[in-house]
């Protein structure tokens, strides 16, 4: 694993996604209170923060699961603020979930193939009869999926039912499924939660590989500071629904607000993540 992927000279500076002043309330509880940040084309951005800081909420807002009360979400010059999740997926935002959301009764291959549905052009009948163009199309999709299987080293699990796979592998399958959409922006919600050290290292390597190969921006929500500092180029720190810091890993490490938010003065549970 190369620790810091070299920056491409021709990297564009334009923003892929602009998040502007997002407010999200659940009844009287304010989950996000005016969060703004940009995701630049081809960067790995990490969103960190203690439990309940609103990290997952912001991802849910971006891909349309939550409807924020106020704010703006601009993806490639298009406002996606009011769009439903399936439209957003079609626009090219792929994501994984903190609590794995796969079809546990299907094989790894079928899970990945299912994710190709947004790229399918042939109708149900043609697909069912499996001839001519429909057949060619399926073969082409299978090739894409096989590339992902190769990239994420899932060959041994290709035909295994997801429900029987260990947790770390399922996380990988989920990442694979997000990739199968061929997203232009990838959102990863705690891809390393609950993994052992070796699995974390593997996952970090996969994230860097994806970033290098697909040249897409990745937004990463993560608890594990060590890993985040290693792979992210920029970090956004949230605390109680507000952005308290933004910058390169070294800056964040020294930011007193961040240290306080993580080590805290009163809470004991946040200590575990520091």
């Amino acid at each position: 694993m190369s620790p810091n992927p070299p920056l491409d000279k021709e990297r564009t500076i334009t923003d892929k996604l602009k998040v502007k002043d997002i407010h999200l309330n659940f009844g009287g509880v304010s989950a996000l209170a005016g969060v703004s940040f940009d995701v630049k084309a081809r960067e790995i951005l990490a969103i960190i923060g203690p439990n309940g800081a609103g990290k997952t909420s912001i991802l849910n807002c971006i891909n349309g699961f939550y409807r924020p009360q106020k704010g703006e979400l601009i993806f490639e010059d298009q406002n996606i603020y009011h769009l439903p999740p399936h439209r957003i997926a079609r626009l090219g935002i792929g994501r994984t979930f903190q609590n794995i959301e796969l079809f546990i009764g299907l094989s790894v291959l079928d899970n990945l193939m299912a994710a190709r549905h947004i790229h399918l052009k042939r109708g149900t009948l043609a697909g069912a009869l499996y001839f001519g163009p429909a057949r060619n199309e399926e073969i082409r999709h299978r090739e894409v999926v096989e590339d992902i299987i190769d990239l994420l080293e899932m060959e041994p699990y290709r035909k295994k039912v997801v429900g029987l796979l260990p947790y770390g592998v399922r996380k990988r399958v989920e990442l694979g499924r997000a990739l199968a959409l061929e997203p232009k922006l990838l959102l990863l919600d705690e891809p390393m939660a609950g993994m052992n050290l070796e699995e974390k290292e593997d996952m970090a390597r996969f994230i860097i590989d994806i970033h290098e190969l697909k040249k897409i921006p990745i937004v990463l929500v993560e608890h594990d500071m060590e890993v985040v500092m290693d792979i992210a180029e920029r970090l956004v720190v949230l605390d109680f629904g507000k952005k308290i810091a933004e910058g390169a890993p070294e800056e964040i490490r020294q930011n007193p607000l961040v240290i306080r938010a993580y080590l805290g003065e009163e809470t004991s549970e946040s200590e575990a993540h520091a």
Partner: protein, 634 residues
Amino acid sequence: MPENTLPKLLKRNAEKYGSRKIAMRVKSRGIWQSFTWQDYYENVKYFSLALLALGMRKGDKVSIIGENKPEIFWAELAVQSIGGTVVGIYTDCTPPEVKFFVADSDSTFVIAHDQEQVDKLLQIKEGLPLVKKVIYWDPKGLWNYDDPILTSFTEMVDLGKRYEKDHPGLFEECIEKGEGEEIALICYTSGTTGMPKGAMISHKGLVAIAQAWRDVDHWSPNDLYVSFIPPGWIAEQAVGVAGQLVSGMEVNFPEEPETVQENIREIGPTILFFAPRLWENINRMIQAKITDTSAFRRWIYHLLLPVGYKTAQHRSSQKRLGLIFKILYQVAHWILFRPLKDRMGLSQIRCAYTAGSAVSPDILNYFQAIGVNIKQVYGGSEQGLVTIHLDGQIKYETCGPPMPGVEVRLSPEGEIMVKGENIFSGYYKNPEATREKIREGWYYTGDFGYIDEDHHLVVIDRMEDLKELKGGRKFSPQFAEIRLRFCPSIKDALVVGGEDKDYVTAIINIDLDNVGRWAEANRIPYTTFTDLSQKPEVIELIKKDIQQINKFLPEWSRIKKFVNLHKEFDADESELTRTRKLRRTFVENRYIDLIAALYGNDREYNVEASVTYRDGRRGVIRTSIHINPVEETH
């Protein structure tokens, strides 16, 4: 013109089969992709020309480090086609080990599999001034590497195609010029003793070995082989590379090391070569599955297995089987053995081989019983293929009779000596060691053994590994260890003795999977490997195994005391070699205090092991382990 080099054989096969016959298959993107002999030849040709274009000369050495893939075969033949020598390096070598092999062999090119291997080379390239290029074939993760020393296999083939335009016929000319005496490869001895030495093997020798082997076991173009043993090992060179070239059989490459079991099942190979460990693992896996299955199936298994044993006994001594047993065997075959073998992908096996370290006779017997024709082979980088089990004359405790054309003799001390075309040409840059090992045409193997009444060779141990007890009685620790390893609950064992010691003791590695499952079934709670290994019930279990084995050992070499080690022997800590043989001297030195305690009166020993965790932190494990006497049984 006789085909006395590997490239000449390749050319002959390409002319004979062209694109009509498949030479190799590899599973990639979930599909078995085939390469015909024409494809094989062309890939070799262009790669070879590219090497010439980059300045490789006749006699240059090229290191190859990678897993079994077609590219490794192509690269090897490409190097040999222009008179070069291949140095095979194991993929799990550490960077300093790789550096030693590349530097010691004066390699000018290195062919590396993937990012993992390329990273190692980039790390050590400063110390390797001779290396002109590092060539990889799996580009994954290497997209952004811009080191000028790197180049990819595809780039090489393109370069070769361009080079051919200016130099037509050059490649064919190079092949024609090849001589049988040229060194085809250098195999580094695995180094159970001292620094590894590079054994040089000529084309003539390798072809002779492969041809003799082909004739003995009737390898044909219809045979299917799955290439899995390390390509740097002489066995894979003799079967996979040279064996394929002399017989025309199809070589199949698994997708990933993790998918081998599955891939073998898909291919249904007729020829297979595994290191003894792998056969032991398959056997262990079957035993574990049988323990887990329903009581009825277990009953069937234990009912029918003896039929297999009985049949195997008759078959291997060419005795006729009674009618009743013939019927019983058919029943057992259809109900038990056939499905069992099918599960393991072994149902089509004609010849299965094992060699390397000694294998337990029980393992051979077991596989013969379920109908897998497993044969033991004796050989090595230096001595080539010496003996092999012949069909119908299989004696599990021997390695079979000498191959045709190979002479075997014993020195007065009992050392095995070998003479013939198949012995190696000498150690690279080490004529002194060569003179010491080859005297008057005889290679002194350093193995202790004897020839039995049927002219079968029995290899007992390395000469230097024979141990003496106080009073001068000799015993072979390995002999007991192999048998210990056959017990399902024991993964590894080190048997200790010495001139200053009165009796024999053992350090045991329990098998976490099997013992863990056993503990679960018997409701014995445990936390870690260390904890499990010291449970009184587990100690009792191991003790029973040892008592069983003691029955077969001469009185003086029985194991009197043992410990269950708190950790597993680990290749990363140099306790095992890369082929998973125990590094005896190293382990004995490492546990010198523990061994002293085995000969003391204490019942407990405190261990303090410093460990390096995966993230680089260092720590100390403290625990006490029990020293257990083994009582005699009657």
